[in-house]
Amino acid sequence: MEYYESLGLEPHLTLDPADLQQRFYTRSRQWHPDRFSRASAEEQQKALDMTALLNDAFRTLRDPVTRAEYFLKQNHIELGKEAPPELLEDVFELNMALDELRGGDESARPQLAEARKRFGAMLEEIDADLAGLSLKYDQSLSEPILEGIRGALNRRRYVSNLIRSAEEVLNATILSGEESSN
């Protein structure tokens, strides 16, 4: 858990954002290459490596999602690539609407916008779920909870991809719609 160590933290899934930021600033002041511009080449390299690690660590740990992903990876738990079965029906509908709108069928727009909204709400639910599971894990250190977190992260990745493609199509067709009306 190199990222946690670099910031002087125990490996927890829940972290206090203000504390994390303060630790990052304090260590940056200590290790930033700016402080070593007249030091030996070895010391400069060490400062560069330490700062790169600190930056990578802070970037990963400040976001609960990338933090959980990192945590699982360090525990040798791989995220799956399979579509979560409970979402299959919603996904099917969304893809239909996407295809129709891409093909110029404007009647699919409300349906797609509605689906985008539904998936957005789903994302919020997953995030709340993830926060709850993370806290539970930190309190109990119970391994099966990690499996639940894996499931939540899988769903999250899948849902955010769906939202992205929906937004892409919605925005693209709005733009081309403007052009053709001009």
Partner: protein
């Protein structure tokens, strides 16, 4: 003469600790500044970023070169920053708008033709940097060998590397490249605001940047940056120029766009009108050329209509930057304006509308970047200890994967230094090489991104396909420049690699240019020393001649008088020598010889003063 040395205007610089200078290497103008106890200070004046080759082959940079734009446009280059780190095919759109003369036979390295000579863009920039270096040395009286140079935040790896190369060619160790808006924030933060979120809108001669920073207890943390490295005041000039050229064609019945001297005169007239329009409701583009006159009044209303598309192009990057910074717009406490183009009222109102607050314009937009660079120089020198800059990489870094797709390794707006580790293996039994193609950009396909370099990992142990494990570490340093190291996981040994940068110079090419310029710098230095020694000799000889008229001269012994005459003669003999050390030695000798005379005159003066009479 010992006691009169102050009057002689001692030209020898006092020895002192060397200083790290801060340099704003701008598209239109450049500046050098230094950190002092009281704060950052600009050294010498603005240096136009123009380079010219005189008919006798000498190279000029700065104001003198700018004058040559009118007399010898084909021997002069401006806005070379637009060419930094770019390939021949990249600059084709630029060539339609700027009188760059690409040298025939420019291959992967772009070269411009100035008279009989050809230069790479870093070499042109090096001439500007060398001029700034000399100005700084003259102002400080100590040699200047280390510098912080600013670059547009949105500069890619190749553009940054080209800037660093320019510094090296000019004889400067570039300790750090700092992003221009970040430098501005540093100068601004020191002066005005200590805490909060600040947006810096930097619209210069040829580049546009927007950065959003969090200021906290001396830490300047860049949250996000965006921009366009080919958008600036130049583009506004070109729009006006285009209109004026068409006008002239219909008025005079002649197309003057192929006459470079006329175009340069007209460009100057257009810039004057543009600058006036920031203060006046109307201005006139006024061109006198070979007895003909063109005058065209432009109202501010028309001007704003013409330039609106250019200004609109800055707003997209602003919106993306705000989204990336993940701060609500109302949490941005202040907007700081940097760069000459922010003097245009329409720019100010567009920024005010977007950010919903009045932008800060009280800092001199031309100087604030150089001042910030000087602060960063102070940080590196250990003179400024409580400030720290945490900057980001403007563009995502990725590698080419199957099917021409990009796999992103380091995302844009990651704080730098930043790193990523990726494992590679071989696809064929006994494969000895792995080729990694690194690109920069936000798009999904390699062809839409900017190729950065190809790393050829060589000398792998021949093993069955898929069983090699090569760990490659990509590291972006604090300058925003990439380096790659690779090791064989099974043996732990580092893997040899050959780097082929897609644009720009190889290390060998830079070395050769440094060598050449070092010889030139050596010659420059000697020439300057000789000139200064002669100035000192003139002063010394003049003062001695005057002192000889003084009655005190008669009170000297015959030997003393002979010694003075001998020293004068010997100084005159070496005066035209090009060895400045010899001239200095003879000045010193004359100084010694006139010691007694100086003393006698002083005593006389004191006596005169005591008697209350004039000397």
């Amino acid at each position: 003469m010992s006691s009169f040395q102050i009057d002689f205007g001692n030209a020898t610089p006092p020895a002192g600790p060397s200083k790290i200078v801060g340099i704003d290497l701008g598209t239109t103008n450049s500046l050098v500044a230094v950190m002092e106890l009281t704060g950052p200070r600009i050294l010498s004046g603005i240096v136009p970023s123009v380079v010219a080759v005189k008919p006798d082959g000498d190279v000029l940079a700065g104001a003198e070169a700018r004058e040559m734009l009118l007399t010898h446009p084909e021997r002069t280059i401006y806005s070379v920053k637009r060419l930094m780190g770019r390939g021949v095919e990249d600059v084709q759109p630029e060539l339609k708008l700027f009188p760059f003369h690409v040298a025939p036979g420019s291959g992967s390295v772009l070269k411009v033709q100035l008279g009989e000579k050809t230069f790479t863009p870093p070499e042109v920039s090096a001439h500007i940097l060398r001029k700034l270096k000399l100005d700084a040395e003259a102002a400080l009286g100590v040699p200047v060998t280390q510098a912080v140079i600013t670059v547009p935040a949105y500069f890619n790896d190749a553009q940054r590397q080209a800037t660093k190369d320019a510094g090296r060619i000019a004889g400067l160790e570039v300790l750090r490249l700092v992003n221009e808006p970040t430098a501005a924030a540093l100068a601004y933060g020191l002066d005005k605001r200590k805490e909060g979120i600040v947006a810096v809108y930097d619209f210069g001669g040829g580049t546009f940047d927007i950065s959003i920073l969090r200021l906290h207890d001396g830490i300047f943390e860049v949250l996000a940056t965006n921009g366009d490295t080919h958008l600036g005041g130049d583009d506004i000039d070109n729009l006006l120029l285009h209109i004026a050229l068409e006008d002239i064609q219909s008025e005079w019945g002649e197309d003057i766009s192929t006459r470079s001297d006329a175009v340069q005169l007209l460009r100057r007239a257009v810039i004057e009108a543009k600058e006036q329009l920031s203060f006046a409701p109307a201005a006139t583009i006024d061109l006198a050329y070979h007895g003909r006159r063109y005058q065209r009044e432009v109202t501010r209303e028309l001007f704003e209509q013409i330039i609106l598309p250019v200004i609109d192009r800055t707003l997209g990057p602003c919106r993306r930057c705000i989204a990336d910074a993940k701060v609500p717009i109302e949490d941005i406490n202040e907007v700081v304006m940097v760069g000459g183009s922010t003097r245009i009222p329409l720019v100010r109102s567009a920024v005010e509308k977007l950010f919903r607050k009045r932008p800060h314009t009280e800092l001199n937009p031309d100087e604030v970047v150089a001042l910030g660079a000087a602060v960063q120089a102070g940080i590196l020198a250990g003179e400024v200890v409580d400030q720290l800059l945490l900057d980001v990489t403007p563009l995502s870094l990725g590698i080419e994967t199957m099917g021409g797709l990009v796999s992103k390794l380091i995302h844009r707006n990651s704080t730098i230094p930043a790193s990523a580790i990726e494992q590679f293996t071989t696809a064929v039994d006994g494969q000895r090489n792995v080729l990694i193609h690194v690109v920069q950009g936000e798009r999904e396909l390699v062809k839409d991104c900017r190729s950065l370099a190809r790393f050829d990992l060589k000398g792998l142990d021949p093993v069955p396909a898929g069983s090699a494990r090569i760990e490659v570490r990509f590291l972006i340093d604090a300058n925003g420049i990439l380096s790659v190291t690779a090791k064989d996981v099974r043996t732990g040994k580092s893997v040899e690699q050959e780097v082929k940068p897609s644009y720009g110079l190889t290390d060998e090419q830079v070395e050769a240019m440094i060598l050449e310029s070092f010889e030139k710098a050596e010659a420059d230095f000697k020439e300057r020393q000789v000139r200064e020694a002669r100035v000192q000799a003139d002063a010394m000889l003049g003062a001695t001649e005057k002192a000889k008229q003084h009655e005190a001269f008669n009170s000297l012994s015959g030997d003393q008088r002979k010694a003075i005459q001998k020293a004068i003669n010997e100084l005159l003999v070496v005066y035209h020598h090009d060895n400045y050390l010899l001239i200095r030695a003879k000045i010193e000798q004359l100084d010694q010889a006139t010691f007694a005379l100086a003393e006698a005159i002083m005593n006389d003066a004191v006596r005169g003063a005591l008697k209350g009479t004039q000397v």
